[in-house]
């Protein structure tokens, strides 16, 4: 089944991911739509308008990263704003990872040589792979559209709450394109730059336009970048909210097609698997790290840790340089100080540290957590790639290897945190602020990431190392969703308290809760110890 062509095999390989993405998007809509449709707080148009007025009073940065609320007095509009605006970013990871690796990853493994030796042109191989991925994406979006339509039918309680299938399809067309455009950047870059760099560029293309659109109101610097953001281009296309702007999708579609075409042509022309050496994209040579598992792990993770630190730090710099403008815009809103004091007690929005807590901390914790998961993915390569069998043939206990290599992962998170702290600290100082307070927050952010990585290490040691990264990523994503969507979903307090970030205080603003710190340390230490114990008890993979 599904092995009749490269296209069919690609679809076959992507079917689980497509099903999962479609179901999870539907699940998000269901999880948000059900309480909205049934909650007494949204039972009448008037109540909904009160809610809308409250939201509209808040500046964009305080609304989270959800964008402009459009017609949120209807179920479709509410879903589109509360859940929909984050969907392309969260699920855009799928095309970025898939399209950066579909050809380059296969080239690195050597399997592309075999494929290219069949009577198929290079262009045909690339096009079939691409078509396979796009087919899977279309399937996922169609599934999501049907589920969105069902949510509208099941939970709509007022006239206008129903979500026509055509509106759901219009909305998922936007999601699909926003997801695909970042993947297309990765696809265009992969034949030339290789999988890892293409993945990095794809991730930048995924997050940067989203952040620009979200924080444009905070400063003129960010606002000047909005013409580059496809989230800004398409901000008026929300069919679920009854607003369409199909024309805005045309440039996005053309851009996507252009990147994909570049990828196909480049792949057809270049030597298979041969990547270009681009000096400015090369990180400096680092020590080889051959003294033991700790230094080996750290040496292999250091460059990417620095890259994560620099990327996240630049995002933080944007927030810091916009802090004054942000503070001024808030001051112009009557009564806003009271609202902020109620929601975020003890935060001084006139300080860069306070603005960083409001506008940086949540998303940065998500990014740094995912960085930790990416280190675990590379860590797992030792066992998955067969290296561990050679390493453990030396006089070294499994527990010792696990502890030392796990500490190497933590040290990489430490390097990321140091780089991030250095960049943001410098930015705060140049703005005349106190650098120490946000630095404490960044250290705690790193500690939380180490805690999440600890959960992954425990799973990796106990079951198999390739589970470490997915488990850690799942915990990071779940925590992020719990923090951002949990209150809107009206989840019970004990569930909301499961988020580690609920117990860390507001550390960027200098408010530190020791409970969360102890929990993060316990997760990091306990996870590593459990992982070491588990690895001693099981068979090695391969």
């Amino acid at each position: 089944m599904g092995l009749s062509s490269i296209f069919a095999k690609t679809v076959r390989d992507s079917r689980r991911a497509a099903l999962l993405v479609g179901l999870i998007i539907g699940g998000f809509m269901f999880g948000t739509g059900a309480p909205y449709g049934r909650s007494p707080e949204f039972a009448t148009v008037e109540l909904r308008e009160v809610f809308l007025a409250g939201i509209s009073a808040l500046p964009l940065a305080l609304r989270g990263l959800l964008g402009e609320p459009i017609n949120i007095v209807t179920l479709g509009g509410f879903l589109s704003w509360r859940v929909g605006n984050t969907i392309p970013v969260l699920f855009g990871l799928w095309p970025v990872i898939a399209l950066s690796g579909t050809l380059a990853g296969e080239a690195a493994r050597g399997s592309l040589d075999l494929l290219a030796s069949t009577p198929q042109s290079r262009r045909s191989i690339a096009l079939q792979k691409l078509a396979g991925h796009i087919t899977a994406l279309v399937f996922a979006m169609l599934l999501a559209a049907v589920l969105i339509w069902l949510v509208g039918a099941a939970f709509g309680s007022l006239p206008g709450d129903e979500i026509p299938l055509s509106a759901a399809l219009g909305q998922v067309t936007l999601y699909g394109l926003l997801m695909l455009v970042s993947g297309s950047v990765a696809f265009a870059a992969a034949p030339t730059l290789g999988r890892t760099r293409a993945l990095g560029l794809g991730l930048i293309a995924l997050f940067a336009p989203y952040l620009i659109a979200s924080y444009a109101s905070m400063s003129s610097i960010i606002d000047a970048l909005t013409p580059l953001s496809w989230y800004t281009w398409t901000a008026g296309h929300r069919p679920m909210a009854g607003v369409t702007d199909w024309v805005s999708l045309v440039p996005l579609a053309l851009l996507t097609a252009g990147f994909l075409a570049i990828g196909v042509v480049t792949f057809a022309r270049r030597d298979l698997g041969r990547t270009a050496v681009i000096g400015w994209l090369r990180l400096p040579s680092l020590p080889a790290g051959i003294h033991g598992p700790f230094t080996r792990q750290l040496a292999d993770r250091t460059a990417i840790a620095i890259a994560w630190g620099v990327g996240t730090g630049l995002y933080g710099v944007l927030i810091v340089v916009s802090a004054q403008a942000f503070s001024d815009s808030l001051a112009s809103i009557p009564g806003i100080a009271d609202i902020i004091e109620r929601i975020y007690p003890g935060i001084d929005i006139h300080q860069a540290s306070g603005v960083l807590q409001l506008a940086f901390y949540g998303f940065a914790s998500f990014i740094v957590g995912l960085a930790g998961a990416s280190f675990l993915a590379a860590w797992a390569g030792d066992e998955d790639g067969g290296r561990l069998a050679v390493v453990l043939a030396v006089p070294l206990t499994r527990a010792s290897w696990m502890l030392r290599s796990g500490l190497g992962v933590y040290a990489a998170i430490g390097i990321l945190t140091l780089v991030l702290g250095a960049i943001i600290g410098a930015a705060v100082v140049t703005q005349g602020g106190d650098a120490l307070t946000p630095l404490i927050g960044i250290a705690i952010l790193g500690l939380a990431a180490a805690g999440f990585a600890g959960i992954g290490l425990a799973a990796g040691g106990l079951i198999r190392s390739t589970l470490a990264a997915p488990v850690a990523a799942l915990v990071v994503i779940s925590t992020f969703l719990l923090d951002t969507l949990g209150p809107a979903l009206d989840l019970p307090d004990p569930v909301l308290q499961l988020s580690l970030f609920k117990h860390l205080g507001q550390p960027m603003a200098g408010i530190v809760d020791p409970v969360g710190i102890i929990a993060a340390v316990a997760l990091a230490v306990g996870g590593l110890v459990i992982g070491a114990w588990g690895l001693q008890r099981r068979d090695l993979e391969r």
Partner: protein
């Protein structure tokens, strides 16, 4: 003196998949022991149990009298291992990779390492990811050999090596034997195994089917016999005789394969005007292929 390897009633299952079943085996110190079998027969599984990379489902394995599960680290001090499939650190050079494993072990003689690198004609300055398959294999061999281990466990060590390097490799392991060290290897270069190994085991579908000295294995196997007669003789004369198979009559010659004593065949041939007889002892490859053949025949009957 404890055997280098002692395996008793060793079974390893992977859920529904067969690994190895009730394997008993002893490898004496100072011998080169060949471990042969078709792909998926259980060679790698056996070797991974010896290194404690996987644990027995039942039975036990010892290396130099030490239990593989309990005394893994002590065993690893005395063992050099080359997996059948491996990938090392892409960004490290060959020299860095070798140095890393030397650091993990400690006490490695750098002069000997340099000698190994030179004999295997390895350029250690290149990054591992840039190496060809054969050069990666050379790095793996240096890592396995560099500390002059008492026992070498080598899974398909000649894979990817060119014929000259295969010769060098077999020289190296013959030298190891001369030093009193033990080599346990699997290989598909049966001709070299035939010439180099002292003893051999054949494993098929997870079970050991033959363990003996090379000469004995050959002796216990069949002979190729070519009979020449004064006039043409029908194949049916010999077909059906005990131990006789693959009878082909061609003019005045009859080719057949005989397992066990050839007396009855010669007596019958003499009665039909035998003029000449040529008998060739099988080499290890014949034995090995015969095991495959029996397997295929058994499959055909099923």
């Amino acid at each position: 003196m404890d055997p280098a390897i002692r395996i008793e009633g060793l079974t390893k299952s992977y859920g529904d998949h067969r690994g190895i079943i009730d394997v008993d085996l002893a490898v004496e110190q100072g011998e080169i022991f060949g471990f042969l079998g078709p792909n998926g027969a259980g060679k790698t599984t056996t070797m991974r149990v010896l290194l404690d990379l996987i644990r027995p489902t039942s039975g036990r394995a010892e290396v130099f009298g030490m239990d593989t599960t309990r005394d893994a680290v002590a065993i690893h001090r005395r063992v050099g291992y080359l997996p059948g499939e491996f990938d090392l650190y892409d960004r490290l050079t060959g020299a860095d990779t070798i140095a890393y494993f030397a650091n993990l072990r400690g006490g490695v003689d750098r002069t000997y390492v340099a000698d190994l690198v030179a004999r295997l004609d390895l350029d250690p300055s290149r990054r591992f990811r840039e190496y060809s398959k054969g050069n990666k294999q050379k790095v793996g061999l240096v890592v396995a050999l560099q500390h002059k281990p008492d026992l070498l466990v080598l899974d398909e060590p000649t894979s990817g090596l060119d014929p000259l390097m295969q010769q060098t490799f077999f020289e190296l392991i013959r030298e190891a034997r001369t030093d009193g060290r033990t080599v346990f290897l699997s290989s598909h270069i049966i001709d070299e195994v035939d010439r180099t190994c002292d003893r051999v085991a054949i494993i098929r579908e997870g079970r050991l089917v033959q363990v003996d000295r090379i000469e004995a294995v050959r002796r216990l196997a069949f002979h190729h016999v070519e009979l020449t007669f004064a006039r043409p003789v029908a194949a049916s004369v010999f077909e059906g005789m005990d131990g006789v198979s693959d009878v082909v009559a061609s003019g005045v010659a009859v080719h057949l394969r005989v397992s066990g004593p050839v007396g009855a065949v010669l007596a019958s041939a003499t009665a039909h005007g035998l003029v000449d007889v040529v008998s060739r002892e099988p080499n290890l490859e014949d034995v090995f292929l015969a095991q495959y053949g029996q397997h295929a025949a058994a499959d055909g009957e099923r």
